[in-house]
């Protein structure tokens, strides 16, 4: 039994949550800065840091009130200390440390990536070994989880992350940042007519590459513009999405063939993608592996997922000290 207060501020969402036993959300307050960064077409780090400091303490009070608890009820404070933007991370880390010290509560440094994956705990208990496909704005990775708290990266993207490629393609199409959700919606109204390249599909690695696809898309788009030809938006989106999903599904299938696992977890902002969720569900019909995509509402950044991952590290004894710093290029740590 545990109650964890958790903090997330790695990018453009400030979030504070209260999670019980690592798998029940008592509160999950999220303040998103998307509207602000839309002015600039993407996240501006200095602006993000300024917004985080405006909100963080308000969210703490709201999280406690909504969960109907006081500081005396809290067993540990989990906080994202990386990866992400250093100035953004520092606000969550500083607030979390300060509360930990003020109320003498154990501090549990937590990886944002472990958080994205462990959001699956809110669906059902994780059974190990498991495999995770992590697809977000900054990461695209296949991660093997031999046991609780252990994360082995089998392969990752060599260039753009999946979410990043959605956002870059969206920018070209004039879609507001972040473009993933809109392209996903457009894709469902179109057909794969452009046949964009699928990179590294059968190269025997678990690595990804999306920059070739992005370039192919942009070339097609600009060439058409020069000919004053208007391409069908829906078909463009459907073709782009089909290429992304094909590569993700193909590599996941190869990993599943090599690592028989009980569950496949799908996490990160792009886990909200309907095309991807459907394709992976179809794939798993052929495997003796259960498919657990994170809930739609918990795919993007939120503090509840940090509470879910932090609870594991808390139970295993990981503790942070008051000199905890942000680590912008953190990946996974074993504990």
């Amino acid at each position: 039994m545990s109650i964890i207060l958790s903090f997330e501020s790695s990018a453009d969402e400030t979030s504070v949550a209260v999670v019980k036993d690592g798998n029940k959300i008592l509160s999950n307050e999220i303040a998103t800065q998307i509207k602000s960064h839309q002015r600039f077409g993407g996240i501006v780090p200095e602006v993000a840091s300024r917004h985080h400091i405006e909100r963080v303490t308000i969210l703490v009070d709201e999280a406690l009130a909504d969960a109907n608890i006081t500081y005396a009820d809290i067993d540990a404070i989990a906080v994202t200390y990386g990866p992400g933007l250093v100035g953004s991370l520092l606000i969550g880390v500083t607030a979390a440390k300060t509360i930990a010290w003020a109320h003498n509560i154990p501090l549990v440094p937590t990886s944002h990536l472990a958080g994205h994956i462990m959001a699956a705990r809110f669906v059902k208990p994780i059974e190990y070994p498991a495999l995770a496909l992590l697809v977000s704005g900054g990461h695209t990775e296949l991660v093997y989880l031999p046991r609780e708290g252990a994360f082995e990266v089998l392969g990752e993207t060599r260039d753009d992350a999946a979410g990043e490629s959605y956002d870059k393609v969206g920018r070209v199409m004039g879609i507001a940042y972040p473009a993933g959700k809109t392209i996903d919606e457009l894709a469902h109204q179109g057909k794969d007519t452009f046949n964009f390249p699928r990179a590294m599909e059968n190269d025997g690695t678990y690595e990804f590459s999306f920059s070739g696809l992005k370039s192919a898309f942009i070339n097609t788009y600009h060439n058409a513009q020069q000919r004053d030809e208007v391409l069908n938006k829906e078909n463009l989106a459907a073709s782009f999405q089909a290429a992304v999903v094909d590569v993700l599904v193909n590599k996941t299938a190869q990993a599943l063939d090599h690592y028989p696992v009980k569950q496949l977890l799908l996490g990160g902002g792009v886990a909200a993608n309907q095309g991807l969720r459907t394709a992976l569900a179809n794939l798993l019909a052929n495997y003796d592996t259960e498919f657990i995509p994170v809930p739609l509402k918990l795919a993007g950044d939120n503090a509840a997922m940090i509470g879910a991952a932090g609870e594991i590290f808390y139970r295993k004894g990981r503790r942070g000290t008051y000199d905890l710093n942000a680590d912008p290029s953190l990946e996974f740590e074993e504990y």
């Binding site: 002015r39 840091s49 400091i53 500081y71 880390v93 500083t94 607030a95 003020a102 008051y322």
Partner: protein, 236 residues
Amino acid sequence: MKILAMDTSNQPMALALVEDNRVLSEKLTNEKRNHSVQLLPMIAEMMQEVNWTPTMLNRVVVAQGPGSYTGVRIGVTTAKTLATTLNIELVGVSSLAVLANNIDQVDTLVVPIFDARNDNMYAGIYKNNAVIWPDQHTNITKLIANLTEFNSKIIVVGEYQNFVEQLTASFAERITFAKGLANLPKGSSVAQLGTAKAPEKWPHRFVPNYLRVSQAEADWQAKHPNEIEKDYVEEV
């Protein structure tokens, strides 16, 4: 009244514990180490030395800026989090006023400066502990123009190295530059200035005094002169 005072607005880090106007402990570091790594451990250590626990605090005073954006944010986040989580008073003081407070000379223009690279600086003009020219992001030319308006003696304090030549050329007969330790902030000054002020009414809304919009927002505002400030952050 037990006060914790802190200034992390530039490379130096200044802390003090003050009880009823008596300084119980004061610390100053001035090295290229991250404030986020140093600040809380040092607060914890100082508090332990005087046998205070966090819940015994009545007021937190913090240098609210200007200064390094990240540095100021570390101090302000720590201070506002402490104040809101312990439900105690929060006071913000000017980081430039903290430096000006090091100079104890009547009828003298005290000019605290933080170097903001190139010809730019954060500076203000103080006299007899009052603000004559408010803290601002400015440049050496404007500062000199403003100092020309007054004819008192001038003493410059803080990060003035890159401006000595120009200032001396303009005010040779009436300008001096603070020496050594007087150029570093003191935790006890932060506490002293913070004792005199009324606490923040809305500590949750307390944010740094950057005295400058970010470059991205400045560019955006220039392109969208008629757009009114909106609330750009939404709870979902």
